[in-house]
Symmetry: C2
Subunit: 87 residues, 2 copies
């Protein structure tokens, strides 16, 4: 399945969350990740994030797409992250 | 078309960008918006955001989905925003 993941984390937890997300997905932008991921890896990722997030402060949104990819992604402004896509 | 929009804006410009995005899309979470939008309205929104963003600091990502909707959206942790969905 193809997912787009966006997080909004407290500063102290960003580095940990970034590391976990990059393990399974491509880093597109600051707080946005995407990629093909198996159901079991997505479950793993969610479990790992669950341990990091403070439910009263942080949030993670995961979009699972029906198709294998979105049809278009457009970036306006700065391209933070995104290194993963070059590799 | 159905789009998911994520922005990462300097604090000073967040309120303006939020206002513009809510005009056309549903506010899902802090910096995440989604919704059905016509091509011409998307063009308008992009033009409006283009006037707000500082290209060296801010970024906006727009995913256009091939299908009318994603198949699943999961939110972990805090639900900021999202008021639009209740209406």
């Amino acid at each position: 399945m193809f997912v787009v993941l966006v997080y909004d984390m407290g500063e102290k937890r960003v580095t940990k969350a970034l590391k976990r997300c990059r393990k399974y997905l491509n880093w597109v932008q600051n707080s946005v990740f995407e990629g093909e991921i198996s159901e079991s890896n997505l479950a793993k990722l969610k479990m790992e994030l669950d341990k990091i997030i403070v439910t009263e402060e942080d949030s993670v949104i995961i979009y699972t797409l029906r198709t294998t990819r979105y049809s278009e992604r457009e970036i306006m402004g700065l391209r933070k992250g995104g290194q993963d896509l070059i590799i």
